[in-house]
Amino acid sequence: MKNAFLKSLLSVCFLSIFFVYNEQPVAAFSPQVIQHGATGEDVVELQARLQYLGFYNSQIDGVFGWGTYWALRNFQYEFGMEIDGLAGQEVKDKLVSASNYDKAFIRENIEAGRKFTYYGGMSKENQVKQGSGSSNQQPNNGDGQSGGTVQPTNEDEAIEPTASNVPNGFSQNDIQLMAQAVYGEARGEPYEGQVAVAAVILNRIQNSIFPDSVSGVIYEPLAFTAVADGQIYLEPDETARRAVLDAINGWDPSGEAIYYFNPDTATSTWIWSRPQIKRIGKHVFCM
């Protein structure tokens, strides 16, 4: 009985703390532990607060990369905390009490695609580069997601990062080009068949008898039928993109193949003479 009473008292206390905490007008972090590799609004806030305190000197972009990692570790060092590069509750509390976070200012500049900084003790106007944003001179900047057009967004919507994580050595554009090739070559194949085609492109880059870049391998004359007949210029779907990412990150269902062919349509006797590794869907992969 006494126990139950204590429990309910405790939970009331807990709830009231929770409510009081929630009522604070200051926008603060979500409960997650923020770590290297994370993306999203929490990272935007983390970077902004670290910059406010002078620890972070790069662009506030919402992606927790190396720059953010060192900034956070130096912050932990200066404030006498355990140096682990993780933003847990203690770190977040310390950050919130030591710095300001002007969410509206950050949101406006991120959404306008401007270069800006957010150091404490400096006037904010001086930290936004002049003549920037929507009136930039970039020509014909018409695609839908472009930062050139400022559209005020709803307060409740999360601030979107302006950058992305990329696997080492690959640009998002390389990934797009590979996805186009995979889509042109292997759409309709099982997922592992699409990863395998992407892996063959990568294996060729590694192989000394083939060109050493994504574009070099893909556009090698007559290497891929989707290139020869123009199907590479189709817009790839999400599955093809995902398959490419998996292949770049080390999945290789092809068994390190450098060739593949469709046994129903292949006319070259040479390709049949290659040592075969396995068949996935319509394609036979070989060395």
């Binding site: 532990v33 999203g40 994580n165 590694q206």
Partner: protein
């Protein structure tokens, strides 16, 4: 009668002409595509080579020893000439393209000069280092413009053959992004400080080891199916399509695939020992509901369940709705880079949707690790003094010849960049210098000054 004959002849003629016309248009289409492909390749190669060039110059700034500097300069020089070849293949002769070409020839001259002289007698001067810094910034600027145009070209399916037409017509009314974009490269004089690059070699699969350290006895097809059912908790009545690899395979494996609900699974098991080399689960992912940090705990838990202890997290990254985790071996606080394991976790449910231990099984063996001959301080002295060292650990890595060496891995920063420098822990030789870049701007909304 004659009328009918005439009609017959004429219609045959007409059909013939139509056929000929059809053939012609087909041929023309094929040629156009071929032409377009050549232009696309040259352009994509150009953007890639400039990225590479930019990364190489950046790495050079972090180098310390002269032994590495000369080959590095030669590589830059070689890349410059490749980029020049790419430019020359594009239909840009009619455009003023002086800035990029000027940049390429400047960097070419500079690196050739440095590469051929004796750096022991005549090391890089302060002025030359500054010049290199300037070239680094210029490379970044041009590279960013090219990547932005590349994004547009792919996003809008723009064709270079149309540029060619636009350039020959020189119609002032016609809007053409590619033409405009290249004009911007010439015009823009601003400096960009953000940098995104890392050279290719470090992450691609090594192909020289052939799983020679794999242990265990061969498993049969029935056993392989059993392993799969156990791993994924599959019902007896769910069909598993199992295939054995052919004669061309480096390692004999079983590949199993299965589909239940909206999940499609693919697993690879080694015949020798029945080890799960890798698997992938493909399904539609919903919006992320758990944090990357929680996802990492799921990944660590999986390794533990598989009996793969002694691993340490090397890198975590969120790619939209999935978290990707790279682990490496950890033996007596020495990081074993070749023993790599990847785990992919769906951030909507926390389910493991990918696992790859192929590199681990390829490289793992019992290693006798000895203590480093150099002290931490001695090794640190071998690192370029302009770097601020933030962190370090002892690591086993493969050198250029593929041999495993014990090194000190230093993480250092210079301006906005992070470098990883491996110093041989016995000889003090600078094994590899890497520029670490795991974040890239979204080119569709590139930041403006």
């Amino acid at each position: 009668m004659i009328k009918w004959i005439a009609i017959a002849i004429l219609s045959i003629g007409l059909a013939g002409t139509a056929y000929w016309g059809f053939q012609q248009s087909n041929q023309r289409e094929t040629l156009l595509i071929q032409n377009e492909n050549n232009y696309q390749r040259a352009f994509h190669d150009l953007t890639y080579h400039l990225d590479l060039l930019y990364g190489k110059i950046g790495t050079t700034l972090a180098l310390n020893t002269n032994e590495q500097l000369s080959p590095q300069m030669l590589e830059i020089w070689q890349l410059t000439s490749r980029a020049q070849t790419d430019v020359n293949q594009l239909p840009l002769v009619l455009l003023p393209f002086s800035k990029t070409e000027g940049f390429l020839s400047e960097i070419g001259d500079f690196t050739y000069d440095v590469a051929v002289r004796n750096l022991d007698d005549e090391p890089l001067s302060q002025e030359e280092t500054e010049k290199l810094n300037g070239l680094y910034e210029a490379a970044d600027e041009i590279r960013q413009e090219l990547r932005t145009i590349q994004h547009e070209v792919m996003g809008k399916q723009l064709r270079w053959v149309d540029v060619e037409l636009a350039l020959t017509d020189m119609d002032p009314e016609s809007e053409n992004f590619i033409v405009d974009g290249f004009t911007t490269i010439e015009d823009s004089a601003s400096n960009f400080t953000e940098t995104h690059f890392q050279n290719l070699s470090a992450t691609l699969p090594q192909q020289h080891e052939r799983f020679s350290f794999l242990t265990g006895s061969d498993v049969s097809e029935v056993e392989a199916i059993d392993i799969i059912r156990k791993q994924f908790d599959l019902n007896e009545d769910l069909a598993i399509d199992l295939q054995k690899s052919g004669e061309g395979a480096q390692l004999q494996t079983y590949s199993g695939s299965f589909t239940h609900d909206d999940h499609h699974g693919y697993v690879e098991i080694s015949e020798k020992g029945g080890h799960i080399l890798s698997y992938m689960i493909n399904r539609d992912f919903q919006e992320a509901a758990i944090s990357l940090n929680d996802a990492q705990k799921k990944a660590e838990q999986l390794l533990e369940e598989q009996g793969l202890d002694q691993f340490i997290i090397m890198q975590a990254s969120q790619f939209e709705q999935v978290g990707l985790f790279q682990f490496v071996g950890n033996q007596d606080d020495i990081w074993i880079y070749p023993d790599k394991i990847m785990v992919k976790v769906a951030l909507d449910t926390g389910e493991i949707v990918g696992f790859s231990a192929a590199d681990f099984y390829r490289n793992h063996r019992d290693r006798e690790l000895s203590q480093p001959e150099l002290s931490l301080e001695e090794a640190e002295e071998k690192v370029n003094q302009s770097l601020t060292i933030e962190d370090y650990h002892l690591a086993i890595v493969e050198d250029n010849e593929g041999n495993e060496v014990l090194t000190y891995a230093f993480f250092g920063t210079l301006n906005h960049d992070t470098y990883r420098i491996f110093i041989d822990a016995n000889t003090g030789y600078e094994v590899v210098v890497e520029l670490l870049q795991d974040v890239e701007n979204n080119w569709g909304n590139r930041l403006t000054d």
